[in-house]
Symmetry: C2
Subunit: 195 residues, 2 copies
């Protein structure tokens, strides 16, 4: 059955729907953990539709990763904003948000890092590197607002904590990684302010 029952023909909306559903599937199964055929079946679309919107599987992957990066950065930016003006509170907001993520049953690590590890093509790695850039910018701003001696160094250290916590949560101890990282971040923040 083409076009099926009451489905609105709206390419933009179709594309967005595919992107959203495929993001979850590919995150859950891994980029190579599910083929295009299986993906289309579980998305309830035909291969032709997928290929018309995204050209290739890699095209879908890249579109999905860019959208995911946007979403993650927005999510953490909001967490910072919601935490108020105190840099320590902002860091707490970030790591608490991360711990909330780790607690989700579907948590499988950072989708962008996973993708870069699986397909180490130039394009995917570039998207991931840019993602870390944006992360770093967010964290460095906090370090700057906190009056850190060297905000760039503290920003990098916070980035290491964020990524390390995500890795440890995925592969070792998801229950406490966020909290341990949060405490470490606050200690580093306090130490740099004290100088």
């Amino acid at each position: 059955m083409p076009v099926s029952k009451g489905s609105t023909i709206d390419p933009e909306r179709t594309r967005a729907t595919i992107l959203h559903a495929a993001t979850q599937m590919l995150y859950e199964c891994g980029l190579d953990g599910i083929g295009v055929a299986g993906l289309c079946t579980r998305l309830g679309i035909s291969k032709e539709t997928l290929y018309r919107h995204f050209g290739t599987k890699d095209g879908l992957v890249q579109a999905m990763l860019e959208a995911r990066s946007d979403r993650v950065i927005r999510w953490l930016t909001d967490a910072v904003t919601a935490a108020g003006d105190d840099p320590a509170d902002q860091l707490t907001g970030v790591f608490d948000a991360l711990q909330g993520w780790y607690d989700e049953p579907a948590f499988r690590g950072c989708g962008l890092l996973n993708a870069a590890t699986q397909h180490h093509t130039g394009a995917v790695r570039a998207i991931t590197a840019r993602h870390l850039d944006r992360y770093l910018e967010l964290l460095t701003k906090i370090a700057d607002r906190a009056g850190a001696t060297d905000p760039r160094v503290l920003g990098q250290q916070l980035l290491i904590l964020v990524e390390g916590a995500t890795i440890v949560a995925d592969h070792h101890d998801r229950a406490h990684a966020g909290e341990h990282a949060r405490q470490a971040a606050l200690t580093l923040l306090a130490a740099t302010q004290r100088r």
Copy 2:
């Protein structure tokens, strides 16, 4: 040419040679980045030999990961030993060793974490989780010797720094990740001793 020229028939040695060469190849290409056929060609062995020694590709992967974990842990343990008795020096030894690794052109992140991300089968993830356990044990011992208020928490934080530094080195800034993590580790160490 079977058995080829002056090749010694020594199954143990053959197995070890395959394991060593395959470890490098699979680290460089990723577990799914090269097939069994290509692997055998570049290793100069036949598929039959590989399958006799390891049963399946997964068998090879698991044997390789276990060997790699042993090797990495021994390497870092040696770095700690070589650094003397001062916990701060020991941490410096660890992160300097890591930075030396990041500086290698062939550096592609932690092979065990990469493998766990690529093949999230139970067996591979278990080997990786155990690898992090051993890492944690090493770091917690340092925290303990340093007289940390809570050595287990500091050990976890150091683990987060180690893994975070490796991730950041792989995907963002390989030149400074080790140094930033080292500074952070020393700051955390000093802070926990001060209390």
